[in-house]
C-alpha cells in the first residue's frame, strides 16, 4: 500500500496534537488535521488523504454526519475510517459501524491500540 496520508479530525487541539505525536511515534509522519467534519471535508478536497481518524462529538458537523457524507461519495466509499471517541454506549458503536466506520477506539487510548488498529486496517 502507498504511504499513508492520514487526516486526523478532532475539535480538541490537545487531542489532535496527541494523536499526531502518537502517529509519528508509530512511524506515520504524513498527517494533516481538521477541527470538525466541515473542515475535514474541505481539507479532503485539497489533501486527498488515504486514511481518516475522526472524533464523534464536534461542532459544525459531527463525526457520524461526516462519515455518512463521505460514504455517499463514490471516491470515498472504500476510504479506511477509524473513529476515536469517548462514546462507548453499544448503540453508538453499532450506529458508527452502520454509518461506515471500519474500526473504533474509545478514549483514552494507548499508542499500542492506535497502531494496532491502523495496522489491522491496512492489512499489516
Amino acid at each position: 500500500m502507498a504511504e499513508l496520508k492520514i487526516l486526523a479530525v478532532d475539535d480538541s487541539p490537545t487531542m489532535r496534537r496527541i494523536i499526531i505525536n502518537t502517529l509519528k511515534r508509530a512511524g506515520f509522519n504524513n498527517v494533516i488535521e481538521a477541527s470538525d467534519g466541515k473542515d475535514a471535508l474541505a481539507k479532503m478536497k485539497i489533501e486527498r488523504p488515504n486514511f481518516v481518524i475522526t472524533d464523534w462529538n464536534m461542532p459544525e458537523m459531527d463525526g457520524l454526519t461526516f462519515i455518512t457524507t463521505i460514504r455517499a461519495m463514490e471516491e470515498y466509499k472504500q476510504l479506511p475510517v477509524l473513529m476515536v471517541t469517548t462514546r462507548s454506549v453499544q448503540e453508538d458503536i453499532v450506529a458508527a459501524m452502520k454509518a461506515g466506520v471500519n474500526n473504533y477506539i474509545v478514549k483514552p487510548f494507548t499508542p499500542d491500540t492506535l497502531k494496532a488498529k491502523i495496522d489491522q486496517m491496512v492489512g499489516k
Partner: protein, 199 residues
Amino acid sequence: MSSSENIQTCIQREIAELTESISGMMSSFRKLQRPLAESREKVPQATTQLDKISQQTEAVTTRMLDVVEQMTQREEEVIRGIEQIRTTAGDGSTEEIEHLAQGLIVKATDNLNAAYQIMESLQFQDITAQQMDHAASLLEEVEIKLHGILTTLGSPEDPNARMVPQVPRKTRAYDPHADFVDRKTDQKDIDSIFAKKGH
C-alpha cells in the same frame, strides 16, 4: 331580606373573597420574581466559570505538551548520539564503552516512554472539557426555564428586579457519558462487535 337577596349577598361575598384570594396569590407570585431573576442571573456566571476551567486546563495541557515534545526530541537525539558513539568506537572498543552506551540508551528509552505516557494521560483534558460542557448545558436549560417562568409572571412588582437579557450561547458538542475511567463498553467488546461484522 328576601331569600334571593340573601343568596345574592352570599354570592357577592364569595366572589369578593375569591378575588381577594387570587389577588393575594398573584402578589405572592410576583414576590418570587426577584429571587428567580437573581437565580437566573447566576447561571451565566456558572457557565462562564466552567468554560474558564476548560480554557485554562487546555492552556496548561498545551504547555505540558510543548515540554513533552521537547523531551521526546532530545531523548531521540541522545539515543542517536549514543548509537553513533558505539559505532565510532569501532572494533577494539572497550567493553566499558559498550556497557555505558547500552546503559544510557536504556535510560533514554525509559525517559522517552515516560514522556509518551504523560502525553497519553493528557487526554484527560478533552474528557473533562466534555464533562464541563455537559454541566454548562444543564445549567443553560435551567436558565431557559427560569426565563420562561419570569416571562409568564409578567411585570415585576419590585421595580428594582430587572429582566436579565439572554446572552449568546456557545455551541457545545459533548458526549454526556464521557469518562476517563468508566466505559459503557470495553475496547475488547468493541473489537468483538467489529470482528463479527468482518472489519
